[in-house]
């Protein structure tokens, strides 16, 4: 497989995963907003921090209001991680390797783009947001399903699998990281209102990752900190848990040549396996997530170095940029 094509496939999968994850995150946040006591201010800056875009945002906006943050995350082309920018980049990438994918996948990605470009502006409106973002998620999932059902498990497929799971693991660590940040202010209001808010916050974290249903089914009805952390970081079966993503990456790497990425992966598996989740629920979560993110970024760089280098004798590749 051409190094250039492999790289474009990897990034196409990352962009699409990022678009979907952002849409899910925004939907969950919008729902959470409505559960908050009136007058309680939501930390929009925290949400920006989740996706690692707080600095980029403040280049263009002064205040992190709901309208500004939603616009920035959903449709602002100046934000390379906005849903629109991700879908557009995924489409541009797909154009360059139509020959390696089943034919309809280009059509579906193109349709996803056409839908996104015509409907996204309406998603700024809270009333329509849920519906439009869900449609984007649905269309993106259709592409994933199409590939799962029609594409040979060849190298191209494995590069998409790598990209998708690396991106997803990264998003999970980010959402967990911010849960810590938004937990603190609400713990105070919890005391004041005598509400079980931490429970609500952990539940909202599960919601942000579309994990609530599987959590309830496999862990329990109550969202307690250490159980949520263990579920999202170390569960073997839930597809958005970090451990599951790492296993997916492991399978993909197993089908590809090169040993260096696999070596890096092992360290991360050990990390989530040996963590003390009860302790992390009270302290150290931020440092833990930071460390995982740094290791994912390193893995990304090793993958680029191992597989994509031939495509770029001199110039900087998109894979060498840090994550998000």
């Amino acid at each position: 497989m051409l190094a250039r094509v492999a790289e474009n496939l990897y990034w196409m999968a990352r962009y699409l995963e990022r678009a979907e994850d952002t849409a899910r995150l925004i939907n969950a946040t919008t729902m959470l907003l409505m559960d908050m006591p009136r007058g309680a201010s939501f930390g929009w800056d925290d949400l920006l921090r989740v996706v690692g875009l707080d600095k980029a945002f403040h280049q263009y906006y002064d205040e992190a209001s709901e309208a500004a943050v939603m616009s920035f995350l959903i449709q602002d082309e100046r934000n390379p991680s906005s849903i629109f920018a991700c879908v557009r980049l995924a489409r541009e990438n797909t154009r360059t390797f139509r020959e390696v994918l089943p034919r309809e996948s280009w059509e579906w990605v193109n349709e996803l783009y056409l839908y996104t470009s015509t409907h996204l502006t309406s998603a700024l409106d809270r009333r329509k947001r849920f519906e439009i973002l869900n449609e984007i998620i649905r269309r993106r999932q259709a592409v994933v399903g199409l590939l799962a059902g029609t594409m040979s498990r060849d190298e191209g497929f494995q590069f998409m699998r790598l990209g998708r799971n690396l991106e997803r693991a990264d998003m999970t660590t980010r959402v967990l990281d911010v849960s810590h940040a938004i937990n603190v202010p609400y713990q105070n209001s919890h005391a004041a209102l005598k509400l079980n808010l931490p429970d609500l916050i952990w539940m909202s974290v599960l919601h942000a990752l579309s994990a609530h249903q599987m959590y309830r089914r496999h862990v329990g009805v109550h969202a307690s900190g250490h159980k949520v952390l263990a579920f999202l970081l170390n569960d073997l079966l839930f597809p958005r848990s970090v451990r599951h993503c790492l296993h997916e990456i492991q399978f993909a790497l197993g089908e590809l040549p090169g040993v260096e990425p696999m070596r890096h992966l092992q360290g991360m598996l050990d990390q989530v396996d040996r963590a003390d989740y009860r302790a992390l629920a009270t302290s150290g979560l931020h440092a833990f997530c930071d460390d995982l993110q740094a290791r994912l970024a390193e893995l990304n760089a090793v993958i680029a170095q191992t597989y994509f280098r031939a495509a770029h004798p001199q110039k900087m590749t998109q894979s060498l940029f840090s994550l998000v």
């Binding site: 139509r98 020959e99 031939a310």
Partner: protein, 482 residues
């Protein structure tokens, strides 16, 4: 309101579907009946469905403009053009004959040039050829074939005669539209296919693969084949990726390839370098190898010519084959057919006046308002003068250009191109068309069944090029109506 064959305003020239108002040609009866019965709103609904399908599948070409490159869908017209199989068989034989003679000619030019020594082809035409590549002299591509893929433009004049307008031997495009148009028609008018035996077109990509595979320098069942594209910003990028996809070939850019000291061509893959056997290049000669041709080309592969001449890689079309893609050389094709094959040309050329000949030149200069004047080496309909539609000022400009460089110009009478009924703003009206079949040659010779029908969508226009307001139609070679 219904679309009515009776009221169809024939233009007086040759119409491909109707002999006279209300009188369909042989083979076209079923089609005309069908469209007569189809209510207008239903027809328009299907037309809209076509546009949506084109938009969704991203069948586009890129138009260069000051505002940047825009992707545009190429307009597709829902009324197919029909050719009876018996007539097609004759055209097919003529196209095969023509490409075989052209390939003998190219091979001769790069070797002994017997045709010049024998006085059949003038040495001065070759001397002034822009596309003759000295670097190719003495090269021996497999089967002595240089032009493996040819897109020949055919037109029909008012009296029904089919003429060859030009042979595109460099990087002819459009075949993907031919294939896509058929897919669209099948999806949107399935009931029409029940009324006809339409010869299928979709074996083209398998034929293209076999033709390319025959050029592989290595033994083996599955040679590594790649389509070389200038990149995603090229106007025909859709087609490049489409063909690669259909053949299961790699789609590569120049920077994906490297030629090593062993003169072999390698692809840069995730596992390092992999040898490539055959390149279907969609990059012009000028740009394929900065070592041999334009040094500033970023699209090519340094050393590619070296690899090709050493027989380590097959290239289609071979470098240098563009020498026969020249509107002056074109005028000599009937003589080539006689010279190399000992046969009469089955398909006639459009009568041509070569400005390099004094008498022809005088005639052209005196009749600029009646003729179509073409530069020898342009394509895409650029740089032409269409006499009857030109101003005195444009004619004066062309007179000057011709006198400056007579070898570079030729002229033909303005043909009354045939028409096909076409849906224009809810009404079916005649529009002018041409036809581009594609011919493949390496070990064997193959011709597409039909080809790409291009249609000038503007009323009265004769220009069918996609970049200048043209659209396309599905082309049916039919066994006869049921």
């Amino acid at each position: 309101m219904k679309i009515d064959c009776e009221s169809y305003p024939l233009l007086g020239g040759f119409d491909e579907l109707l002999e006279a108002p209300g009188k369909p040609r042989n083979g076209a009866e079923g089609l005309c009946d069908y469209f007569s019965e189809l209510p207008t709103d239903e027809l328009e609904a299907r037309h809209r469905a076509v546009d949506a399908a084109i938009m969704a599948s991203g069948i586009t070409f890129t138009v260069y403009s000051e505002a940047g490159n825009i992707d545009r869908a190429w307009p597709f017209d829902v009324v197919p053009r029909i050719i009876e199989k018996a007539e097609w068989d004759r055209i097919e034989a003529g196209l095969k004959q023509r490409l075989q003679a052209l390939n003998r000619f190219i091979d001769d030019l790069y070797h002994e040039q017997k045709i010049i020594q024998d006085g059949v082809f003038p040495a001065e035409v070759l001397a002034d050829s822009k596309n003759f590549r000295a670097a190719c002299i003495g090269a021996n591509p497999p089967f002595g074939v240089w032009a493996h893929i040819c897109g020949t433009d055919l037109v029909r004049d008012g009296d029904g005669t089919v003429y060859v307008l030009e042979d595109n031997l460099r990087v002819p495009s459009g075949v993907s539209y031919m294939l896509e148009n058929r897919q669209l028609m099948k999806k949107l008018f399935p009931e029409l296919f029940a009324r006809y035996d339409v010869l299928p077109v979709d074996d083209y990509t398998a034929q293209l693969y076999d033709m390319l595979a025959a050029l592989s320098p290595r033994e083996g069942d599955r040679p590594e084949i790649a389509v070389l594209t200038p990149g995603v910003f090229n106007s025909a990028y859709f087609e490049h990726s489409y063909l690669a996809q259909q053949m299961g070939a790699h789609l590569v850019e120049g920077s994906d390839l490297v030629v090593l000291d062993d003169d072999c061509v390698y692809m840069k893959t995730i596992e390092g370098l992999t040898r490539l056997d055959v390149i279907y290049r969609r990059v012009d000669d000028d740009f394929i190898d900065p070592e041999a041709f334009r040094a500033d080309s970023a699209l090519g592969v340094p050393g590619l010519m070296r690899a090709w001449k050493a027989g380590k890689v097959g290239i289609a079309n071979a470098p240098g084959s563009g020498v026969a893609d020249d509107k002056v050389v074109y005028a000599y094709v009937p003589q080539m057919i006689e010279y190399y094959l000992g046969e009469k040309a089955i398909l006639p050329n459009v009568p041509s006046y070569l400005c390099m000949h004094k008498a022809d030149c005088d005639y052209v200069l005196a009749n600029l308002d009646k003729l179509v004047v073409k530069p020898a080496n342009e394509s895409g309909g650029y740089g032409m003068l269409i006499g009857p539609k030109s101003t005195a000022e444009e004619q004066a400009k062309f007179a000057e250009l011709i006198m400056e460089n007579p070898r570079n110009y030729m002229a033909q009478p303005t043909l009354a191109l045939s028409t096909v009924p076409t849906l224009c703003d809810g009404v079916i009206e005649p529009r002018h068309v041409d036809l581009r079949p594609f011919i493949l040659q390496s070990k064997d010779v193959y011709v597409t069944r039909g080809g790409l029908t291009r249609v000038a969508l503007r009323r009265g226009s004769l220009v069918v090029n996609s970049s200048q307001g043209g659209g396309s139609k599905d082309t049916w070679v039919v066994q006869g109506a049921i």
